[in-house]
Amino acid sequence: MTIAQPAQRGEVSIRDLSKSFTINGRSLNVLKGLDLDVKPGECLVIVGASGSGKTTLLRVLAGLEQADGGRVMIDGAPVSGVGAERAVIFQEPRLLPWLNVLGNVTFGLEVRGVARAEAEERARGYIRLVGLSDFEDAYPRQLSGGMAQRVGIARALTVQPELLLLDEPLGALDAMTKITMQEELFRIWREENVTMIVVTHDLEEAVYLADRVLILPKEKGDTTRLIDVDLPRPRDRSEVRFVRHREALLREFGLH
């Protein structure tokens, strides 16, 4: 028996994707023949050495870069340019310094033509979700790095994307803040039921957040690997299976 469920969206399908850059007259293949499917509501984490094309892949998905070849489909529609069903969270919060927290969080909605009153009401909900209700009137220069990044996250969530693209979102934060923010991201992902694709350097973060981890090859001969992380959530970093997963990832990088 099937139960009628609202069609969950945020499905990604990538076929034979390639992208190269020309640097000093030399062509550099960053992505070559990549195939990938991301299920609706999944959290996929992308890891890989510097220059392996993690960020490029994310930017192609965001519509900020154009692929040289292959196909990228989101919910069955080919990607061309930026789209309303996607939102990006960058490594830097990228807040507008002349707007306060509320103004920054409503920015995405206002750009899309949502009336101010409605935009502010929706924004307040997400400001509460990231725990910044007391700071609606604060300006970016008054915020710590972690708080500013949470404003950026609230801004992305406010447009209610089906696919959330995160480019090393916690990379610039200190170790303590990072751990709390990982928990926060997990909570948001579960509550918002959104598909997330996260680029990170941090393998522990990868194991903590991911349903699957995509490892992009560094050398030409290497292959792309996908690893399932089937651990119960919320995950316990000190648990044996967690540590084993992390060690398995380290081995992939020849570090253990």
Partner: protein
């Protein structure tokens, strides 16, 4: 544990008000006096030294009259109305030129900063014009526009145009590309990006240009009024010197300094209102 508890101390808030006591008030008063002395002590000493040196004849009082003589001359000029006419005509000249420069430089600068092709085409000629001293061109403007108001206003306009234009272009070009990309991700059109990101981001730099231009406007005002004028504060400086009314000459110079300070103060106040989000350096 929630995040706010960890990070709340970072927030810049109001300190709890200190309890008032006589000792506290005295300490506050002495702190304020220290601050005042640190800032204005040198200026005050300079003026005192001038007054004393001039009254006691250490320096030639005919060339450097004592301050009280200068202040008296200034007072007489203002009350008698002689200097008021000069101020009015000078403000009219520099004001007209400054407003014209603002109306031309800001729109042109915004376009040049935004559209690369326009900037590429205009930049070389802009560099040549900018490096040509406005004062050197003054005789040319006199030839073209005559010795009246038009050439005076034009030479001030010419000199004030460039600082404002260059700072507007720079302000637009230096807006963080990452912010522009962020706005694009949310689907902002070019016009929206300009209106919501580029323009507000360029405002601090435009204000730097406005303040430089205001200073330049006064500088060129004086120079233009020293040649072929029969009114104006700059004329008064020259005229008083010819007639050996040295206190009046210094009074006019003092007036010019005051005009410059007021213009700068007004622009800083305006900038503080418009750019509460950034630190304004006064």
């Amino acid at each position: 544990m929630s995040l706010q508890q960890i990070e709340r101390p970072f927030f810049v808030g109001h300190e709890p008000r200190r309890q008032k006591s006589v000792a506290g008030l005295l300490r506050q008063a002495s702190e304020a006096a220290d601050g005042f002395l640190a800032r204005y002590g040198m200026l005050f000493s300079f003026l005192t030294l001038w007054q004393v040196a001039s009254s006691l004849g250490w320096i030639n009082a005919a060339v450097f009259p004592p301050l009280n003589a200068i202040v008296t001359a200034l007072w007489d000029g203002l009350v008698g109305g002689a200097l008021l006419d000069d101020i009015a005509i000078s403000l009219q000249r520099s004001g007209t030129a400054f407003v014209a420069a603002v109306l031309v430089a800001i729109p042109v600068g915004l376009i040049m900063g935004q559209v690369r092709a326009v900037e590429r085409a205009l930049d070389p000629i802009l560099q040549v014009f900018r490096q040509t001293s406005a004062l050197a061109l003054y005789p040319v403007f006199i030839l073209l526009l005559g010795l009246g108001e038009a050439s005076k206003i034009f030479v001030i306009f010419w000199a004030t145009l460039f600082p404002l234009l260059l700072n507007t272009i720079g302000g637009v070009k230096e807006v963080d590309k990452k912010l522009i990309e962020m706005a694009r991700v949310y689907g902002a059109s070019r016009l929206t990006v300009f209106r919501r990101v580029v323009l507000p981001g360029a405002v601090p730099s435009i204000f730097v240009g406005l303040r430089l231009s205001a200073t330049t406007a006064l500088l060129l005002l004086i120079a233009s009024e020293m040649i072929g004028a029969n009114k104006g504060v700059g004329f008064q400086v020259m005229n008083a010197q010819y007639n050996f009314q040295i206190p009046l000459m210094f009074a006019a110079i003092l007036l010019l300094a005051a005009l410059g300070l007021i213009a700068n103060f007004a622009l800083v106040a305006l900038q503080r209102r418009l750019c509460r989000w950034s630190e304004v350096i006064g």
